[in-house]
Amino acid sequence: MTATGAHSYLRPEDMRRVASYEFAPKALVEGYFSGRHRSLDRGSSTEFRDYRPYTQGDDPQRIDWRVFARTDRHYLRNYHQETSMNCHILLDSSASMAFGRDPSKLQYASFFSAALAYLVIRGKDRVSLGLFDEGLRDFFPLGSTSKHLSRILTTLEQNRPGSQTGFAQVLKQAAPLIKGRGSLVILSDFLEEPAEVFDALGIYLHRGFRVYLFQILDPQELQLPDRGLSSFRDLETGQQVVAHAREIQGAYDEAMTAHQRALRALARRRQIHLQTARTDTHYFQLFDVLVQRPR
């Protein structure tokens, strides 16, 4: 694979380190191998797997005539199918993702997206990228070339936080664009109603996508800082709530814990992988999680 040049979200030193996580995408696709990715789906390939009796409608070219000569029966040869991995990345670029500093949630998510795209393409697989807020703002279809990667990285650099988050709208909008089965990786803060998020994912689960949710949160969102009497302004809606931080800290902790618990419960029920990441940790940890994740 050729060098991608200097990009903010994929620096040369990160590329070397990310290379050691080459099996992370494998974990993502979990069997959708193309080339080095071995698929359990049977198809046309050079590596023999087994025989099966011919049935009407099968391609006659796949009949093993040698076996027919020996047994006078028609058998077809099955081969391991080598597939290409399709990884679709959807990056929440709404205004709420601008929260936090060094890095913001959007920056953190962009780092991870860039590294994941690099790894996928390095593994000769295909990756797509969609940027969204209340609608799908930008989308790059599947590609596996260096040029494709370079475009993705440039887009990430130019990406800026937008307006409100609209999961239902976005996933509905992206459905015709995200073709073929593969892995759907969504990076967001998931601060909306949990049920709203998971309802919108139903269509992809139905199509056989493996869905990975990476929740990116700033430490201040997990534990409200004591800033005295504050006017909290919503970055997406502009709504203001005046409260004494110390007086509501306890209640906020409880509410946040309940929100997280609800997200995890819904993810477990729908067999969706959900991973929460704090922006004060390195995004490499997300790859660690993927690599170590049991099959």
Partner: protein, 664 residues
């Protein structure tokens, strides 16, 4: 109710009360902006808690404002003034301060005496008067002693007097004090009477001060609390059979607690002690046996061990010497008088005293024998003598009215005049009652037969059947009484046989008979012993002529001059103020003693009357513990401080609870 502020200069600081409100509004208007990713959870929390938080926030605001108000109000020094000002708020006042200086005011009440507390309050009253006001202090002891003859504007001198004054060991004479107020009252409107006392129940129970209705009366209690006290209430002596005397002391416990006290007796060289356990409010006694000296008067002193109120712990008793029985003989029947004198001269324990027939005052004798009494001679003196406890032996004169003698002796008369029956052969005598105690000495026969003689004359005129409290000792064989006695309270004898010859009086049994008769008639208590209480004048009568200027009385504190009283041989000192033994001296030599006791009414330091219950004809303003509360007002800062502390505590609790519920 009137509230004034003593420190109005601090008034602008009341604006500080607005501080919490300003802080509240300021803080609310400028919350620090915070760009947050999503306020969905926050708005839910705020919506959920605002229903509770908002009233609580207002409560905290109110409490903080109240706290500031209380602090600022404290700095303003508010003073509560009575809504009913004292008399003469706008006119010249006449103020009488009746200050109790009785013995109970000497009781220690904390660090100072009740009197000191009362004097301090009196000084406060005087200090609060304006330039035109007039005042007077009336010291209330055994007498009511005004400091000035009438109220004066020289209040400075009155205040100086208060500093130098002290209580006296006397009882308080409140009626005299109120009489003095009435005497000095020049005006009724604008007149105030301040009564400063400890309001002992024993002194105030019956007091009803009668003052004009317009006079305003204020009772000021100088006692803060009761004081459990024990007092040596009485001291008596009685003769024991073995020649010694029994001294009995009675101790009263006014305390509400049981106590154990020690009694000390001192009589000449004899010193003894007894422990005495007394229940709450009870009286107990202890007895001592002492050997009384026969030659001279003895002073017995009994004392309780020291307590918080030692003034009433000591009491004295004078024991008269065993002196001869003084018998005086008078009367116009010279023959009988001589026979009596001759017989009595033979008795060593009898001292014969000649008595002037014209005497108008009782003689200093124990028994007065009158031979041939005509019903007029020294009649007043005889009556007074009887009242003072002396015994009479009376032989009526024939032909004189019976009534005078029967009235004097309490006998029923049968005749209008005394009749004499004569028997030239002489009447034979007989003892009416063989068990008669007076004749008990003759039972053995060694002193002869008391009825062995004969008498020629016999006087009669009494209805003996009705004379129930008299005993006939001797009578004739025809049952004509000859000698009768009345023993008991008023001792007397009626002698009905004029002694014309020695047919009876010359017999050996006559002397012992007369001796036994007079012994039975001797007064049980010495007549001369007279006791006083502090605040009284010591009075003494002398039978011989003395000069007042040569007399003086040496007391426990100092010597007192003596003045002659109107009346025969009576002398008196000025009022004495110390309990103890006082010695009368004539030309430097002791001539007698008087005992002065502590006034019993002053010992009860526990029970007081409610001054509100005292009926006063004047207008009673009430009872004030602090005069300054009326004059200068009652400072309210302690209440405000308490309020501020309570508010601060409540605010802390509300904040703590709010934070706890918020999970901080």
């Amino acid at each position: 109710m009137n509230v004034i502020f003593a420190n109005l200069a601090m008034l602008p600081w009341t604006l500080l009360a607005a501080t919490p409100l300003l802080v509240h509004l300021f803080a609310r208007s400028r919350p620090r902006p915070f760009e947050f990713s999503s306020v969905r959870l926050l708005s839910e929390i705020v919506r959920r808690t605002s229903r509770l938080q908002r009233p609580r926030s207002w409560l905290i605001l109110i409490l903080r404002t109240l706290l500031f108000l209380a602090i600022v109000a404290m700095m303003l020094r508010p003073v509560w003034m009575s809504s009913e000002p004292l008399a003469g708020f706008d006119q010249r006042k006449q103020v009488f301060i009746l200050l109790d200086r009785s013995a109970s005011m000497a009781a220690q009440d904390g660090s100072r005496t009740r009197f000191a507390a009362g004097a301090a309050r009196a000084s406060e009253i005087l200090a609060g008067l304006s330039g035109e006001d007039q005042a007077n202090i009336i010291w209330v002891g055994a007498q009511a002693e005004p400091e000035f003859p009438s109220p004066s504007g020289n209040r400075k001198l009155l205040r100086e007097t208060l500093v130098q004054a002290g209580p006296k060991l006397e009882a308080a004479n409140w009626p005299a004090a109120f009489n003095e107020v009435r005497r000095q009252l020049k005006q009724t409107t604008g007149a105030e009477v301040h009564v400063i006392s400890d309001f002992q129940a024993s002194n105030w129970a019956e007091i009803e001060p009668a003052l004009p209705e317009q006079v305003e009366v204020l009772f000021i209690n100088a006692a803060r609390e009761g004081l459990g006290n024990q007092v040596l209430q009485s001291l008596t002596s009685s003769e024991s059979g073995d020649g010694s005397r029994e001294i009995t002391a009675e101790v009263r416990n006014y305390s509400e607690e049981p106590v154990l006290r020690t009694l000390f007796l001192r009589a000449n060289e004899q010193v003894e002690s007894r422990q005495l356990r007394l229940g709450p409010g009870s009286t107990g006694g202890a007895s001592f046996q002492i050997q009384a000296g026969a030659e001279q008067e003895m002073v017995v002193e009994l004392a309780l061990d020291d307590d918080a109120y030692p003034m009433d712990n000591t009491r004295h008793l004078l024991l008269a010497p065993e002196e001869a029985l003084r018998v005086g003989i008078s009367g116009m029947d010279e023959l009988t008088r001589r026979q009596w004198e001759r017989a009595l001269q033979a008795i060593e324990w009898i001292e014969l005293v000649p008595i002037d027939p014209a005497r108008k005052t009782p003689p200093a004798v124990a028994i007065w024998m009158v031979a041939g009494w005509d019903g007029e001679e020294s009649l007043e003196a005889l009556r007074e003598f009887q009242k003072s406890g002396g015994s009479l032996v009376l032989l009526p004169e024939t032909g004189t009215p019976v009534e005078a003698a029967t009235q004097l002796l309490g006998l029923p008369a049968k005749e209008t005049a005394w009749q004499t029956r004569r028997n030239p052969q002489g009447f034979n005598l007989v003892a009416r009652d063989p068990e008669e105690p007076i004749l008990a000495i003759f039972e053995g026969g060694e002193f002869g037969d008391p009825a062995g003689g004969r008498v020629a004359d016999l006087v009669g005129g009494v209805d003996w059947e009705k004379a129930t409290d008299w005993r006939v000792i001797l009578e004739t064989t025809t049952a004509q009484p000859l000698l009768a006695v009345r023993t008991g309270q008023d001792k007397a004898a009626l002698w009905l046989a004029p002694l014309r010859d020695a047919a009876w009086s010359g017999r050996p049994e006559f002397v012992p008979l007369l001796g036994e008769l007079l012994f039975a008639l001797r007064p049980e208590r010495p007549v001369a012993q007279q006791t006083f209480i502090t605040g009284q004048r010591l009075v003494r009568r002398f039978d011989r002529p003395v000069l007042a200027e040569e007399l003086e009385v040496a007391g426990p504190d100092r010597n007192h001059p003596v003045t002659a009283l109107a009346g025969e041989g009576q002398f008196a000192t000025e009022p004495v103020s110390q309990p103890g033994v006082y010695e009368w001296r004539y030309r430097g030599s002791p001539v007698g003693r008087s005992v002065v006791h502590f006034p019993e009414t002053e010992s009860d330091l526990e029970q007081t009357v409610d001054p509100n219950a005292i009926l006063v004809a004047g207008k009673v303003l009430g009872v004030e513990d602090s005069v300054s509360a009326l004059r200068e007002g009652q400072p309210l800062w302690p209440w405000l401080l308490a309020l501020a502390m309570a508010v601060a505590l409540t605010e802390s609790l509300v904040v703590w609870r709010t934070q706890r519920e918020a999970g901080v």
